[in-house]
């Protein structure tokens, strides 16, 4: 999968090679190979406990891998932490703001900690969102606090942005605003983003790549459009010609089992619409659910 990304051309912003991380007997990452091309916005999707946060924490040198390695913009964070962290903008799941300080003080703190922090850029971003700089960060709404966290990450002008489920606690409107700000910044700065989430719909419109993580392994790593085109969802026993079953899960309404099929190469005609086999239009959520169901080995309940 890593090779696919490399073969698709362009440099790699973040790469994991055989990355393994164990917490005592629990394997959080199991020989993960992953490559995030430069300039891409990659969704790192998986259920809780899939290893998404652990992968990002290894990239941040918060966790030491048991085997394998990871490189962020060509730098191994565990061996050269300072150098690696200068290249990374990080947004943790829980908004990490100094609640007792004002918004502007939070930016000043970031400036004092990171020599390359562009405080004016971060202020402008927050100003566009009408977040008062003199307001105490502890009194911001969840969405505003997340935007402050994002502004701090963007202010570093880092080449790689690692976002660890920043949308998890936001309402739909705040999620949409957050993603819009992120995309604007990534596209204007040419940076790379790895956005982890367990909510597929959040990342569907934002990302151009998809990496599905389940049980500590990379189940799928490809372009988002490829994921849609290369899979079919059917309720029939007869699969699309040459297709391979990925996983079955209970469909919407909970009345029938649906199966996700991976199509044979060169058999992607028909797009994501219904075809002659009776397959439904394949959504990204179907793809993700199919791979996660495969990982569990049993039918997956779809709510």
């Amino acid at each position: 999968m890593e090779a696919d990304a490399v073969a698709s051309g362009g440099a790699i912003a973040m790469a994991a090679h055989g990355l393994t991380k164990r917490f005592r007997s629990k394997v959080a990452l199991d020989a993960v190979d992953l490559a995030v091309p430069q300039g891409s916005v990659t969704a790192l999707v998986g259920p809780n406990g899939a290893g998404k946060t652990t992968l990002i924490r290894v990239c941040m040198a918060f966790e030491r891998p048991n085997a394998g390695s990871v490189e962020v913009d060509g730098v191994n964070p565990w061996k050269h932490r300072g150098e690696a962290l200068r290249r990374v903008g990080y947004v943790p799941q829980k908004p990490a703001v100094y609640g007792g300080l004002s918004v502007d003080d939070n930016l000043a703190m970031a400036k004092s900690l990171h020599s390359g922090f562009d405080i004016e850029y971060a202020r402008r971003r927050l100003d566009q969102l009408a977040i008062p700089l003199d307001q105490k960060a502890g009194t911001l709404s969840g969405g505003q606090a997340a935007q402050l966290g994002l502004a701090v990450a963007l202010g570093t002008r880092a080449k790689v942005l690692l976002l660890d489920e920043p949308l998890a606690n936001l309402d739909p409107l705040a999620r949409r605003e957050f993603i819009q700000v992120l995309l604007d910044a990534v596209h204007s700065e040419g940076s790379t983003a790895l956005l982890s989430s367990h909510i597929v719909t959040d990342v569907e419109d934002a990302c151009d790549r998809l990496a599905i993580l389940g049980g500590g392994k990379v189940k799928l790593d490809c372009l988002l459009e490829e994921a849609r085109l290369n899979h079919r969802l059917t309720d029939a026993d007869s699969p699309p010609v040459g297709a391979t079953a990925v996983g079955s899960f209970l469909g919407k309404g909970g009345k029938k089992m649906m199966t996700l099929w991976r199509l044979a190469p060169n058999d992607t005609a028909g797009g994501s619409g219904a075809d002659a086999t009776g397959a439904d239009a394949t959504t990204l959520e179907d793809v993700v659910l199919g791979y996660l169901a495969a990982g569990r080995g049993t039918g997956l309940q779809l709510n």
Binding site: F62, G82, P92, A96, Y98, A108, S112
Partner: protein, 356 residues
């Protein structure tokens, strides 16, 4: 750097304001109490030997004239005792003991632990790059403020002690020397960096405080015993001539400004390490009534040869008050070394621990 120091104070403004008020308030209270005591103008001659209210104290200042009568001293001494025994005066004295620990623990515990508790450490550490430098600057910022605040307390505590014993130079006296003066600053630094280390290891503020309180209690309670027996012994000297100790007319009462380390036994001017009971059995035979048989009419113990017999005597061994600065420098250096060690542990640990 100045921005980060300022933001560190601002981030910990509750602790900063509380300890600033405590230290400056205590310094002011100490000076006020000292002024009140000074304003009583208690005649030096009424203060007993050595100008100290310690009536067992021996003469320190030769110029002190002993009181010629009791009556003239009753009123001023009663006024003095009333003030020094009052709640506010006692409270100030006690706070001089506890202030360095309160300040050190309050500044130290949240410095790293709160970042971990509130989830800001991952962001701070990802921005800072070097966690050691991040912590070092924070430690220096808080330690700098601590030194200034405890410096005020140190000055006030010396003035306070000075008025308690007006005829003795507080910098040439071991009276309460480890609870006042520059020792206050170094106790505070040790408590501060020790608690920073505990907070870094535990990652939680309250557990760090609890453990720090226990450690500080034992460190403070055992300090004199350990330091006196280990570090100060080489500096000590005999404070009385052992040859004169057997003289019944020789009466050595050590002054409060001296620091007693031990009372080694001497016999005939030489160190003696025998068993007193055995010595008595061998040199003081008793008659049927339990009275020594070898005592002359003057009560002088006689040897078998009929000559006066010397008894083993304990001789004061310690430090004169004029050794104040070397001793304070040594003890401060020990505390400072301990503080630096704790700081090094914190810097080592912060670099290795997880930020959550």
């Amino acid at each position: 750097m100045p921005t980060r120091i300022w933001l560190t104070y601002k981030q910990h403004r509750f602790e900063t304001i509380a300890i600033t008020v405590l230290c400056l308030g205590l310094a002011a209270a100490g000076l006020i109490e000292a002024f009140r005591l000074f304003a009583l103008h208690t005649p030096v001659a009424c203060l007993g030997n050595g100008g100290s209210i310690n009536i067992f104290a021996g003469p320190v200042a030769g110029t002190v004239t002993a009181p010629t009568g009791i009556d003239p001293c009753v009123v001023p001494l009663n006024a003095r005792y009333a003030l020094t025994g009052s709640l506010d005066f006692t409270l100030v004295g006690m706070l001089f003991i506890f202030a360095p620990f309160i300040a050190g623990l309050t500044f130290g515990a949240p410095l790293v632990a709160r970042e971990l508790e509130q989830g800001t450490a991952p962001l701070s550490w990802s921005l800072a790059g070097s966690r050691r430098r991040w912590l070092l600057i924070r430690m220096l910022a808080m330690a700098g403020l601590l030194v200034v605040l405890l410096g005020a307390v140190a000055i006030a505590s010396d003035v306070y002690q000075g008025t308690l014993n007006p005829t003795v130079d507080v910098h040439a006296s071991f009276e309460t020397y480890s609870y006042r003066g520059v020792m206050e600053i170094f106790w505070g630094l040790a408590a501060f960096l020790g608690t920073v280390a505990l907070g870094t290891i535990f990652g939680r503020t309250l557990p760090a405080v609890f453990v720090a309180v226990v450690i500080c209690f034992f460190a403070r309670a055992g300090w004199e015993n350990v330091v006196n027996q280990v570090a100060l012994q080489p500096m000590g000297q005999l404070l009385a001539d052992p040859a004169k100790m057997s003289d019944p007319n020789f009466n050595y009462l050590y002054p409060p400004s001296d620091l007693m380390l031990s009372w080694p036994m001497y016999l005939d001017g030489k160190p003696w390490s025998g068993d007193m009971n055995v010595w008595y059995q061998q040199n003081m035979p008793l008659d049927a009534n339990g009275q020594p048989t070898n005592v002359d009419t003057n009560g002088q113990l006689l040897g078998t040869d009929g000559k006066p017999l010397s008894m083993p005597q304990s001789v004061p061994f310690g430090l004169h008050g004029n050794q104040y600065w070397p001793v304070v420098a040594l003890e401060s250096a020990i505390l400072f070394a301990g503080a630096l060690l704790c700081g090094a542990v914190a810097l080592f640990w912060v670099d290795r621990r997880r930020p959550y």
